[in-house]
Amino acid sequence: MSFMVLVVDDEEAIGREIVEAIGLIGGSAVFYTCADKCLEYVERSGDHFEFIIADLAMPEMSGLELLDRICMVLNPTPKCFLMTGLPEYGGVKIIDNQNFEILHKPISLQDLKEKLGHPEP
């Protein structure tokens, strides 16, 4: 029961750890540090992902924007996670909605297991 996860975080150390963790819970992941490149890749490859995990605060574009744009490209829409320590962007509080679920930093492996454990078919 393998699943594909797209991981986007501007900090490489985090990305690598998450990729490793996904591997440990039985999935495989594609990791990008640069949101633009990630978007480019998604648009170009048309690969299928069950999950997307994006960091909220990134230099080129925020996780919110990235998720919006990826979801516009991919169909069916993967389940999206927004990774953040403080659920707030530009002074606006961010809450779970139909587009994404918030993944609170610091993330434990247990959390990841629970969130990614039942991937939608």
Binding site: E17, A57, G85, L86, K105, P106, S108, L109
Partner: protein, 892 residues
Amino acid sequence: MTALMERLHTLQAVSFLEKYFKSAGLEAYGVKLAGAILLSVAAYTGNALNVDLFFGVNYLFGSIFVWLALMTIGPLGAIFVAATSALYTVELWGHWYAVLLFTLEATAVALMRGYSRPAWIAPYVLLYWLFVGAPLALLSYSYGLELPWTTVQLVVAKQVLNALVNVSIAVFLLNITLLLFPSAASTIGTRVRSSYGNLLQATFGLLMLIPISLSEFFELNQRFSEQTQSLQERAKGNAGRSAHSTASFLELETNYWRQYIRRAGKALSPRDFALAKAKDESAFPVMIYRVTLQGDWKLLYGEKEFNQQQLTDLVKAAVSRNATQAHMLGCWSGMIFTASKRIDRTGFLVFGWAPADLSILVSEEPGMEVAIRCQSSDGLQAGDFETLPTVEIVRDLEVGVASLVSWQHGYVRSRAALSAARPFSLELVLPLGPTVLAIHKGTSRAIVRLCFLAILIIAGGYVLEVLFRRWVEHFVVAAETFLRFQKPPSDGLNYNFYENREISKWLGRFSRAVASEERSKILAINNFEKLVRRSSMPIFAADQGGRIVEWNPALEKMTGHRRDEVIGTSLSDLAENSLEIELQLSSPEEALFDVHIRSKSGSLVHLEASQAILTELSDLVLTSHSEQPHSMGMVKFFIARNLNDFMDTQAKLIQASRLAALGEMASSFAHELNQPLNIIAISAGNCLERIKFEEISPTYVISKMRRIEEQALRAGRVIQGIRQFVLEIGDEQVVTFDPTIRIQSAISLLHEQLRLDSVVIKQNVPETSQHIVGRPILFEQTLVNLLTNARQAMINTPRDERIIQINLESDGSEISITVADNGPGIPSELLDRVFDPFFTTKGETSGTGIGLYLSKTVVEAMHGSIHAEACLDGARIIIKFPVACEESNVRC
């Protein structure tokens, strides 16, 4: 001669004046000397341009200038002018008495007047003439010049009148000048003062005296010319008549005496003639000749021997006429000669008559001494003879008191032909003296009348002036009473009179106005006192010597020094920074200055004082307190500001701004902390997971542990940064520090935020270390503020264009740090306001408006400067600091 005398006199006077002037300072007296000479010339000219009123009585104008000199230059000048101008009278009248009188007049008036009221001279002139001048003149003219008493009376009265009118003119001229040109007195250079009373009396005096005098003089002149005219007419007629009757009379007498001698028949002895003369009731000849037809002659009677030539002429004339009738022969040697018919065949008689014996023929007024003379043909021109009878007034202008005496010694000479055929005439001489004296009598009465009028006008004028002055004094007393008690003096004003009623009304209004003014002044003083005493602001006052004269309770509370302790002591003694205070108190500029006072509790009170100009009011306030020591000169009030409070407030503000900045950075910090925590959590989780299911290599564990350690330290650094940022800054010491290090730490503090907003920092900072003096954390805070402003300014700038350029340049004496962004920039009209407190363009949500204000405060406290520039692409803030020497707290 007179000119020489005058010159000598002038020279003497000038040298005397010069001596006088030298003793009292040359400069002012040089002007006075020039004025005296000028007025002398004017006075002399005024005398020369005199008006001949009538038969040798002259009106002189010189003394006008004498009085002008007295009023403007002073006594010596006046005496000088009087003496020099009077010299003209010597030429005019031929005696020195007038010079004496006029010089004495100026001297006496100058002595009487002293230096009191310059315009108050007319009464002294009047006094002089009444008690000195007139008696002296009467004496000198009647005994010295031996003029008739009537004439003396006239002349003296004229002189008094002349003096009084002239002094009135002078006073009037001075007054009118002072009235029309109020600054004239200072131009003249003397303290010339006058009064309206004086002006009025001079004006009315002249208005009355001049027309009356003019009409009187005109009248007198008229009368004089009429009388002399009638005298001449009468003389002329008289001469004609007398000549006619003389001719017929002498013919009759000649016939009568021929008959008498013929009847006697014999040679008559002189005794017979004497008897006949004694018996005779008509005229008797002075000499009788018997003349033969051959021209031989014989004196029958007469004492006087004719000289040969005249006798020859006479006999020749008698023989050639050889008439059958008695007839006139002519005049020889002042006698009239007639010839008779032939007394016998051989000869005839010639009679000589004395004209004086013919006076019975002249019909003149009784008492009039008429001289009758016979004028022979050789004394007359042919033309004259034809115009006979003639009349003329003859005056001897060589007489001493030229015109006046010449009139009195003058006479009217009328001539008429004695014979139609022979060119000799009868001359009647009528003396003018009695007529002139008669006119003098009338004139002197008129002049004395005028004189009395002048005296009355001047004396009356001065009585009026004195009354007016007293009235003014009374008015002043009334005004004072009004001001003090708001009601008229009980003994004062007589309300039956209009002026007093008006004055009372006016004074009532005035005193009410003054009282209300007084009240408002007192109110102002009270309020000012309350303001000073009750103000929570520290207020003090110092006189020009820097001594404290006011110290309000706010200051007492602040410093612990009581008011009564500090009053009178010097402010610079009380303060710690005495040098600065002394400088400030002595400078006329009103700058803010610091006063540092050690309070009684030992702490230093920092005051910033600014001067308030309250001179007039503050003087009043201070003089209203008797305990105040006598202050010197102008008192300056100072309103101070307690900088201790200000400093506290400022520190709190800075703290608040740091907290605000911290709030702004909270999400950034959260992010920054969460990053390492996230890595730690997942790394640890991965490690644990692997340990559960598989054998793991030590290498893996080591790498994970390293990563965890690394990230934990990273989190620690973040917290360290925050801690340092919110550190208490109130006690931070002033040290020398390297601004480049602080720039780096400010950048690193904001690094994550800048990175997330894609803001690129470009630096142009020298490698070598720099040094400035100040508080490093505050400096860092300033940079954080500037960088935050720059970052926020570029929120709408495309991400790949967000650049902050930081430059640091040093020219050896000054370090300038520039922070430039490429946001929208600052509108030029706001450039001046960006450093104002609570000024923000960020809107209410994100800005407090104190960031730049505090930056400015911090920079200026470090003796630096900060200003904003608007450039084409964004804003630019430039901070400048003086360079400090390395490792010392001193600026180089």
